[in-house]
């Protein structure tokens, strides 16, 4: 789901060269037609007509077969989706607890039917057969965030929260944000930089490289805050290389990001443990492992 969030934030125009790359990589992995279409959809948020034609051409199939698969499965959409997605679960458990009424309330407030986008392109509304969180129904998912035991009085707030994105937490007020003291795992040098504060705290200074450009990246030392500042502008969704500013070592962890598949950076925690953060701009995946056994 997080993967979808990163990819669907902004609608990308159809780019045949990019699509061809996706098709090739999937064909190489023996992914089959469904995997190819899944990758394309993850990339664009829907299946553009041009992409379907390209898939037919590259895989040597008839367009009608590609279209057949694309329309057989519920996951695929031939229409662009809105910037934000709201899915109402209509599984049986959610249904008997009023899921249908809830979906109607979303329809009323957004002014669209399931499967449609709002005229401003901000939202698409969907109903899904079951999200597998049946004990907590009715369930609504807004851009990957699960809301449980939803009742119609919360509809407005959920729409608003989804529109605003994950609320930027107030570091002063939120107890679940707390400071980390981090070191380079290679030279054990401390990484805190009091001169460039982020969230009013000394920041974690790393060296960032992206497409031949270099500069410092200052991360908030507050775990969970995602605050940062950087000298190098990196577009959302791009993967960067991050180095220790002291020993210049590449900080990549053995495991890739579980959410988006990009490399992850691992830093040592004073007092024992490992902090890992994704190297993809915009991916919010962070983990803090106090045992540090996986490192």
């Amino acid at each position: 789901m997080a993967k979808v969030v990163v990819a669907s934030k902004a609608l990308k125009p159809f780019d045949p060269a990019q699509a061809a790359k996706v098709i090739e990589s999937q064909t190489r992995d023996h992914g089959g037609l469904i995997s190819i279409l899944e990758e394309i959809q993850l990339h664009y948020g829907y299946l553009p007509e041009g992409a379907l034609r390209l898939v037919a051409e590259k895989t040597g199939r008839d367009l009608v077969d590609v279209y057949g698969v694309a329309t057989f499965y519920r996951f695929f959409s031939l229409k662009p989706r809105g910037e934000h997605q709201i899915s109402c679960c209509l599984g049986t458990a959610c249904h008997v607890r009023g899921g249908a009424l809830l979906a109607e309330e979303f329809q009323r407030q957004l002014g669209v039917k399931p499967g449609e986008n709002t005229p401003d392109g901000k939202f698409s509304l969907e109903t899904v057969a079951c999200l597998g969180a049946c004990a907590l129904g009715p369930i609504v998912v807004g851009d990957g965030h699960y809301y449980s035991n939803v009742n119609s009085s919360r509809v407005k707030a959920i729409i608003q929260e989804t529109l605003e994105g994950l609320k930027r937490k107030d570091p002063a007020a939120d107890e679940s944000l707390f400071p980390l003291t981090l070191h380079c795992p290679h030279c054990n040098h401390g990484l805190l930089d009091p001169d460039t504060p982020v969230d009013r705290q000394p920041s974690v200074r790393l060296l960032l490289a992206h497409q031949g450009r270099q500069g410092f990246l200052h991360l908030s030392r507050l775990y969970g805050s995602h605050g940062h500042s950087t000298q190098v502008e990196v577009p959302a969704g791009e993967v960067t290389d991050l180095y220790c500013p002291h020993c210049q070592a590449l900080l990549n962890a053995p495991d890739d990001c579980p959410a988006c598949g990009a490399a992850r950076v691992a830093l040592l925690l004073a007092g024992g443990g490992v902090f890992q953060v994704c190297s993809r701009r915009g991916c919010l995946e962070q983990t803090l492992d106090l045992d540090g056994r996986s490192f």
Binding site: G32, I34, T92, A133, A135, Y146
Partner: protein
Amino acid sequence: MDRLTSLDAFKAFTARLAMDPGRALPVIVISAGTCGRAGGANDLIKMAQRTILEDNLTHRLRLRVTGCHGFCETEPSLLVEPNRTFYPKIQPQDVARVVRAAARREAVGDLLPVDPRSGKPIETQEDLPFYQRQHRSVMARNEKVDPRRITDYLAIGGYGSLIRALEKRDPAWVVGEVKASGLRGRGGAGFPTGRKWEMLAARSADKGKYLICNADEGDPGAYMDRSVLEGNPHSIVEGMLIGAYATGATAGVVYVRNEYPLAIQHLTLALDQAREAGLLGEDILGTGFSFDIRIVKGAGAFVCGEETALIRSVEGEMGEPRQRPPFPVERGIGGRPTAINNVETWANIPLIIQEGGAAYAKTGTASSAGTKIFSLVGKVKNTGLVEVPMGMTIKEIVFDIGDGSRTREKIKAVQTGGPSGGCIPVDQFDLPIDYDSLTKAGSIMGSGGMIVMDEATCMVDLAKYFMTFLKDESCGKCFTCRKGTQRMYEILDDISKGKGTRETLDLLKELAEAVKDTTMCGLGQTAANPVLSTLRYFREEYLAHLEEGRCPAGVCKDLVGAPCQAACPIGTEAWKYVAHIARGEYEEAYRTIREANPFPSVCARVCSHPCEYKCRAGTTGGEAIAIRALKRFITDRIDPSIYKPVRSALPPGMDARIAVIGSGPAGMTAAHYLSLKGYKVTVFEKVSQPGGMLTTGIPSYRMPRETLQKEIACLLDQNVTLRLNTELGKDITLDGLQKEGYKAVFLAMGAHKSKLLNIEGEDLDGVYPALEFLQAFNLRGEKLAKRRVGVIGGGDSAVDAARVALRQPGVESVTILYRRTRQEMPALQHEIDAALEEGVKLVTLVAPVRITTENGKLAGVECIQNRLGDVDRNGRRNPVPIPGSEYAIPLDTLIVTIGDIPDVEYIASMGIAVDQWGTLLVDKGTLLTNKPGVFAGGDVITGPNTVVAAIAAGKKAATMIDRYVRGEPFKQPPTIRLPEVYLAPPEEGEEVQPQEARIALPTIPVTERRVSLKEVELTLGEADARREARRCMRCDLEFTRPPAEQGKNTERTEHPSHGSV
């Protein structure tokens, strides 16, 4: 971790893990599957980490983030090992206390769950009633491992079964064990797994041979597979490895649905880690055995649960099923032999190899071995995943593990097997759960969804829901499935709108059977199950829609309209007067109320307000609108004379007189409406004041006498004559009335006799039936209660008697003795609350054994302690006496009521039929007794019931008597009443937040109540009333349009709507 290259290296590594000194430390376990995260587990993790870092506890305890443990209802929760302390629904700010206490190996007492029955804290997870009856072998491992660490799985013996299989060097031995275990496919069809493996093993592997794990959990309402994949992915990997070794399969596929992102994440990680450790891929552990697994993401198609369709989908094609044979085990992926098992089946394999097939088979039943995980969800209190031995009854699962209904509504049925399954009604809950008995009952095991439904679930709507799903999911290959599901949906949709006749049901059944018999795959063959099983067990509900235009559960929108109005026995448009109040139109509000109800001030005080129970503001999670209090606000402020009822005259020459026996709400209502139609009505009342139970039973602190008399006086118009002190059977007779020329008689004498306990001593001085006690006080001002008063019973008369006793001089204490718990007391909840506030004591779970005497006078009552036992048909637990727990309660007055019954001695002697409960027998549709021209209604036919039900009976009697006298047919088309009048929501810009709490009802101070008979409840102030009225969600607006827009929307115009009853 480093690659393990031999079995010895594996053993050495796991031995090292076992020596880890950290294993002795306390562990904070946080359940963070999809449910846990939806419930807020991520914040708990952060708070725990913060506390560990800040307090420097890294070396004193550990944190384990796991998948789902099963008790999803209590998310987010914490479990602390080794004491196994369980903390449900934990707030982030409480985590630090738990962590610090855990480091000291202590528990935090105030955060422990409390046993609802004993009121005592529950110390360990194992002591929770939810877990006690379970047998958790698959699910239990979820809490032991962080799914993202292979070392966690290895540390609990993971992959040990694979080693055992590899060491045997005999694949046939593995197949033999699985056969011996009796394991049957957990995906639904229940095919014996061992046999499937045996067939696969017999096939050649030269061009490849495949295993598939079906993780496309498409059955809405079931999520055990997600939980296992998320929480313990290595158990699936291990299961598949064992399967591959046993059958010689060369490659494996996990087909997992895209809707499970966390499961895909954890499984991907597990496969990577297993490969890196040398447990997956080429030359596993140096044994020469090779097998690898890839993930294929399903793109969402329910039909892919059918194995041939799933294989097509794995191949990247449209998931259409094909004819079998050949079975996949002959021709599967790419034409090669393939065996498909579902997630839960695979998860059971390591357990079987570990303990041996024979040992595994000891759990469960002879034909269905082992355990099964169910997702117990819907209207049950404890929702979550439960793992039980096969053969447990539905009753045990729903009532013992699930703890029964989560709402006021009774549990009606469970639905198992998802869209392919069916419903099992509550009277068959003794059914043991196994593959065969479920099939016999018209349902199927399926993947294990168990959705509990209560009286607020409509079975027509449920069947329609499944058919909506199935018509969308039908792949379209078979005509009968494609069109049949569509047509069944259309018929069900019609029924949900009240369109159709009895024959419609025959058509539906015929169609369902045709679809079942003429389709190729499992989807089509079972698609009729939701229809057939609901038709089989809930035909009455279907008929209510068709013949009465009524949805008993209050779900089908086109019959229900606004739920408050549909819930009201007299169809009061509550939404309308609430809207008028919000707009400040009080006179219109009064007219709306009075239109439906001749006793508005009475109902404003003592109505049981079914409207509030169905109010959507309450049923969707918030608090119901205080509708009764709003009615009170209006009736207190508006002069009744503003309402001018519509009167009609009888045809010239027709001069019909009607006799009504009893001047309670049923009798007076009938008299009133007959009078409006032009009849001359005489009401005969046995006692000296009119009002029936309103006067003799209900005390004046609830129902001031002046208000009551005023309301009755309004109904005594030129056509109505009241004759007091006139008793049927003594002063008048039925035959006499008919001879006098009364065209019809309406018997509405109520139920004024208290049912007694039938124990010795009930005739002693100081022992009173509750109604006698109340009547003595209400009519004659006699104060019978002395010193220590005991009241036996839990209904409204018991509570009324207790509160009246409390107000009498010389009373020291009043104690209500009830045999079940407070939850089960039938009295109105706010009345019980008020009684307790005033100082009435409530002792529950006791039953009187005998009345004790001293010198021939009442000394007290001997009681026996009860415990709650088995569940009865209504979902209530029967009280069971605990032998030897008898004890004496000294009393000076004992008031007894265990229900009220009518006094029918005379009527029965006149040949009018009486049923076994001592109430009159009438035709439910016409209220006619077995004697021509004699009708009966109200408590005399139902036993003690609500005021509003009596008013409804009176209205119905008036209609039926009118039809009888005029010689019209009794039966007329059903009335569907939907909101018609558009009332704009109030503007003024200040939108009220719907979350705003329900208004609290003002009362006079408790100190004043004990010493006076002043009315306890006060009326709402204007500002409060309007604010409360604005909380209304205005369900009516779904049906009405502003005048400017009318005509644009034709969707609703097709529904005929008639006037009031």
